[in-house]
């Protein structure tokens, strides 16, 4: 937090948040302002802290699974995936092939609904209310599909060590295929309504620019990093699950501004649809869950497992000491480092641009304040 006294008599401090429509949750940004210009933005975290990492140390490792979903409520299945992944790696269990496919399918659906929500919210931050209703319509279709198989609509707790809870059926496959078709038909509309909108472009082009070097220094990952031209995606860089079997691109842009981040995410929607299509085509038969002993003791030692969340690199680091309760759990969340670049790029910009900038970072605050 900045403690510098006001150096100019025209400066004043504006509290953006913890309750502000554009801070996407309980984020507070202390803004030192000069008129509408931001001199120094300082994010303040911790308003939604729930000690998830500490909780992992006090409950058995399967008991932590519901927590995983509650850190990032927009990518619960991907958080599931990371957690079961790290436990499997530490315990030396291998999931069945069908389970891995189901994990990828549900994870990609989860990523799609996160991106769709982000698309609506970004435009909402810029003052247009209508597109979020359209993206919600699309998102609703995904939630319906996922609800059928997982039983919940947001905080999924679907994956288990060695597989998943429930198998997917032909109805699920048919509905997903139908959805893919629907989503593809919708993309030209978003292109017209949002990408082609002159006001939207004027609001995001050239805003919040950063270089790949700066992005690396701040540990940026995910679409924000790829917007600066670095093709770093865990699904390719450190392949996990069955991702290496699919043919998909890692979209990158070079500008490193809000528009580039926007373009990257929109293109990722298309890539996710491609992955879904291939996974549905090749879905193998077989058990959806490997045979695992009733009670697994985590061996002493540690393991990391990284997955690509819609916001970037999500890493679980788990240390076991031979008991049923993890000794230590550390989670590296993408939003935290993505947010850290805010003071660097947003100094000197207008208040309205800060909204665009935070919108394009796609922050989920409960993930930071885990």
């Amino acid at each position: 937090m900045s403690t510098t006294p006001q150096s100019s008599e025209y400066r004043y401090v504006l509290n953006m948040g913890p309750q502000h429509p554009s801070t996407h949750g309980v984020l507070r940004v202390i803004l030192e302002m000069e008129g509408e210009y931001i001199v120094d933005p300082q994010p303040v975290l911790g308003y939604g802290h729930r000690m998830h990492e500490k909780m992992a140390e006090s409950r058995s490792w399967p008991g932590f699974l519901p927590n995983a979903a509650r850190m990032d409520y927009l990518a619960a299945l991907i958080y599931n995936h990371g957690y079961v992944g790290v436990v499997e790696r530490l315990a030396g269990i291998e999931a069945t092939p069908r389970a891995e496919y189901i994990r990828v399918i549900t994870s990609e659906l989860n990523r799609l609904q996160s991106h769709l929500l982000w698309l609506g919210v970004l435009v909402l931050d810029l003052g247009a209310f209508t597109p979020i209703m359209y993206t919600f319509e699309d998102r609703e279709k995904i939630l319906d599909i996922l609800e059928d198989v997982t039983g919940s609509r947001l905080t999924y707790c679907y994956m288990r060590v060695g597989g998943v809870v429930r198998d997917i059926d032909d109805k699920f496959v048919a509905r997903t295929r139908e959805y893919i078709k629907w989503q593809r038909s919708r993309m030209p509309m978003y292109d017209k309504l949002v990408t082609g909108n002159i006001i939207f472009r004027k609001r995001v082009e050239g805003i919040g620019e950063f270089t790949p070097d700066l992005a690396r220094r701040y540990g940026l990952t995910g679409p924000v990093l790829r917007a600066a031209g670095v093709p770093y995606d865990i699904r390719r860089a450190e392949p996990y699950s069955v991702y290496p079997e699919f043919d998909f691109e890692i979209p990158t842009e070079t500008a490193g501004d809000c528009m580039a981040a926007y373009r990257v995410r929109v293109r990722e929607i298309e890539q996710s649809l491609r992955i879904l299509e291939q996974a549905l085509d090749r879905l193998p038969e077989g058990p959806f869950r490997a045979k695992t002993p009733k009670k697994i003791k985590l061996p002493a030692g540690d393991a990391s497992y990284a997955v690509e969340s819609p916001r970037g690199e999500l890493v679980y680091h788990l240390t076991g000491d031979g008991s049923e309760v993890p000794y230590r759990m550390k989670i590296r969340v993408p939003s935290f480092s993505n947010l850290s670049i805010l003071p660097e790029v947003c100094s000197g910009m207008l208040l309205s641009d800060l909204c665009a900038c935070m919108g394009s970072l796609d922050l989920v605050i409960p993930e930071i304040d885990r």
């Binding site: 504006l14 502000h20 909402l124 003052g127 247009a128 209310f129 359209y134 006001i199 609001r203 207008l350």
Partner: protein
Amino acid sequence: MNETSFLPELLRILFTVVCAIVIVFGNALVMGYLERKFAGRFQRRPGPMEVGWQGILQLAVDGVKLVGKQLLVPKHADKPLYLIAPILSFAPALLPLLVIPFSPKLQGRDLDIGLIFILAVVAINVLAILVAGWGSNNKYSMLGAMRSVAQNVAYEIPMLLTLLSVILVTNTFSLQGIIAAQEKIWFIFVMPVAFLIFFVATVAETNRAPFDLPEAESELTAGFMTEYSGMGFSLFFMAEYTYMFIACSLTVILFLGGWHGPPLPFAEYTSALWFFLKVYVLLILMIWIRWTFPRVRFDQLLNFCWKYLVPFSLVHLMVTAVVLKI
């Protein structure tokens, strides 16, 4: 004024004021409903449905709710200013209705300076917003108020400049006179550029999206209105709808031939139908714009005005003057 005409004149004044109030509240009701229903259509949802047929009574219920709400005054607010601001915004909105010609006969008073009267009265709204923002003792409100002043002062210039073109052609400030001049051809066909500039400027003047920067709920969390609740808030909203109505009425009078339209029986009164039809088409256009576009940034807003609208309207004025001289 002699004694014989005093009573009818008084009655006439009373009747006009009552009509103006009815129009203000009626318009707020209709606009509130239209705004919700059209927003619903644009967003592929039904809009209000529960209260009354197609949610037609929703506004009445909202009114009851807003009247029932406690009027909170922030602790360190400038209380008199804070309380007077919504009234200062709403009260002047009544006055322009006294001179707007809805039909050849349906008009409070055909002032020789009708146009100037409307512009003068409407300008008070800027002061009201400034007072509201200042009195709220809230930085977001203050920013909204400051934006409002810069925006309204800027957009008044192209608006007045295009208006001057119309006045040059018609040679009158009287609203009936301007409408009468359009009997053969509406001015939108003679000077479409002026119409465009004027309409854009009126959208900005009424603080409607994409120019709703004094409010800007996603940046300033509602701007100058942040601290207002209940009736204070709804007075601002009612004022906004009334100013929209006035702005669209002016556009109709200046460019769309006022009450001119296909002949109707008792046209001296019923041609008001054409007037309202045109006004509401423009209002719906404003709603459409609001629910489609993102908000512009403040510097872009001012640049658009000073770099494009003002020069274009100046050139337009010059061309009009030259053409008239030839």
